[in-house]
């Protein structure tokens, strides 16, 4: 790591900090082995970070170290190896709790991904607390993972799904919120930041109004938690789902935050070993939080890797990451908006480094294939948001999404390859 005199504590301070120790962003890239890979003869320019991020050596090493020196099942072992694994795995929960400013490890359930975290709430909270005729409010910009679980629940329990609309500028139409919230709205589940439009939603206001209406609120933090400081207690959300693998952690890692009083009253979701207290043939009681919701042998290495990822992010500081990504986004936007044949979706300002775009007469898939030949990895498709695509009147968009290890040079290569693509198809 190439950070001059930063410590793990001096992070998340709010507005711009003076005397900010300089971070050598370029040097950080050396922490990510894959970034030195050549792709079709070009340096790899990885701009699909909204799908999953690359992993720094410290995370890969944490997994390797676990498997090579203290691999054992947790909680149930009476030997040192198991004790060491248990400690590291629990510690990762603690780090995750601190990272999003949750009260403690009781609030943090590790899942495979963000999708499983949302499903956990839909199954456990949804099936136990919602009744025929209740409404669930989503938004029109949800990822399938924050839409389809509610459709299944709605069908099973005869619930009604409402949708907070989006404005032409790609922001949510907050003015509609009071009309959509009623005493029958029992749950609001919205994304904190859009994986298509880059919009950052006014979740604080949504939570306030939803709570006034008596609804609980789940935030889909897949595109927020990795990119800027998030404080679940300050936001006062009831649940927050996010993916570890979108914030440097291994695949197979994700988390659900929940308020303790809600998690306590929810029935278990997955059942089996490690989540029980007392079992007879006919009936069982449950273990303490968060273990009540982690059935079977957990993804131990992945959890430990998640902890290592969070340590790494903390060393840089989420405020710094956010500022750097803002800079990259502005730099890319400036160049993209110069081309009249390029259309950018989503808001102009107050947005993350997720840029969906279209080029006249060139299909997004063709753009992606073209760029790939120049070593530039972007995504083309519906980004798991088909209903939003329909609203945008497209079947697909191209999407570049940044993380802090991206550089101005990455963006130059991206823009350059894009220009070649435009010229090729226009010829």
């Amino acid at each position: 790591m190439s950070l001059s005199n930063r410590t793990e504590t001096d992070k998340v301070t709010g507005a711009a900090v003076c005397n900010e120790p300089e971070i050598d962003w370029k040097a950080l890239r050396a922490d990510f082995p894959i970034l030195s890979r050549k792709m079709n003869g070009h340096p790899l320019t990885y701009l699909d970070n909204a799908a999953t991020t690359q992993k720094p050596q410290v995370v890969i090493d944490a997994i390797k170290e676990y498997f090579e020196t203290y691999n054992a099942n947790i909680h149930r072992g009476a030997y040192k190896l198991s004790e060491q694994a248990t400690y590291a795995y629990e510690e990762a929960h603690r780090k995750t709790a601190q990272f999003i400013h949750a009260p403690g490890i009781e609030n943090i359930i590790f899942t495979r991904n963000c999708t499983e975290a949302i499903n956990l709430v839909a199954y456990s909270y949804g099936r136990s607390q919602l009744k025929t005729g209740d409404h669930i409010l989503l938004s029109q910009m949800e990822h399938h993972s924050n839409l389809v679980p509610w459709q299944l629940l709605a069908e099973e329990k005869n619930l009604i799904l409402d949708f907070l609309p989006i404005l032409p500028d790609g922001n949510l139409d907050l003015a509609q919120l009071p009309h959509l919230l009623s005493g029958r709205t029992k749950l609001v589940s919205v994304t904190h930041a859009s994986n298509v439009l880059g919009s950052i939603n006014p979740v604080r206001e949504i939570i306030r109004q939803a709570h006034n209406a008596g609804a609980v609120v789940l935030l889909d933090g897949a595109q927020s938690v990795p990119h800027f400081p998030v404080d679940v207690q300050d936001l006062d959300c009831d649940f927050m789902a996010f993916s570890g693998h979108k914030m440097l952690a291994p695949t197979g890692s994700g988390a659900l935050y929940g308020k303790q009083e809600l998690l306590e009253k929810m029935p278990p979701f997955l059942a089996g070993g490690d989540m029980i207290s007392d079992v007879t043939f006919q009936r069982s009681t449950w273990h303490n939080l968060p273990w009540k919701f982690e059935a079977g042998t957990p993804a131990i290495a992945e959890g430990i890797g998640f902890g290592a990822a969070i340590d790494y992010l903390n060393r840089i500081g989420m405020e710094n990451i956010w500022r750097h990504e803002q800079h990259l986004t502005e730099y890319a936007m400036k160049q993209l908006t110069e081309w009249p044949d390029v259309k950018i979706y989503g808001p102009k300002g107050n947005r993350t480094g997720v840029i969906s775009f279209a080029i006249d007469d060139i299909h997004p898939h063709d753009i992606a294939t073209f760029l790939d030949q120049y070593g530039v990895a972007i995504r083309a498709g519906h980004h798991c948001a088909q209903p939003l695509m329909k609203l945008l009147k497209v079947v697909a968009t191209a999407r570049a999404s940044f993380y802090f290890y991206n550089s101005n040079e990455d963006i130059d290569r991206f823009i350059d390859a894009l220009d070649k693509t435009r010229k090729f198809f226009k010829k």
Binding site: D366, T369, V395
Partner: protein, 148 residues
Amino acid sequence: MILEDLYQELILDHYKNPRNMGTIDHPDVHKHVKNPFCGDEIDLDIKIDRENQQIEEIRFKGEGCSISQASASMLTELLRGKSLHEAHDLIEIFKKMVKGEATPEEEEKLGDLQAFKGVSKFPVRVKCATLVWNTVNSGLKEIDQAEK
């Protein structure tokens, strides 16, 4: 340059000016398919000349990338007037070619469609090229079944 292997003039031309676009009244086969991952869609209508067991007319409407749309356009040109038997063979050959598994003699039979040979260097795009071919295939199979 490898990109030119994929995006041949002929392909770009069919992409920009697709042939046989549209629908057929009372088709013998109507198929709608979609690739859920890229969103490509194709509507395909076929009219069969039962007596001669051949494809009388074939039209498509679609939305998608250059490869999938050009493939559909060129397919309609190739298959119109072909016997069901020939069509079946050509479909198999095309699918082999885009995976780099066809012999030169086989490829020969595809005529202009050999423009798609370069797809074999782009495994992610094979699905785009074959979408319409699989659709025709399953449409013709249904006819076959119905007649048995």
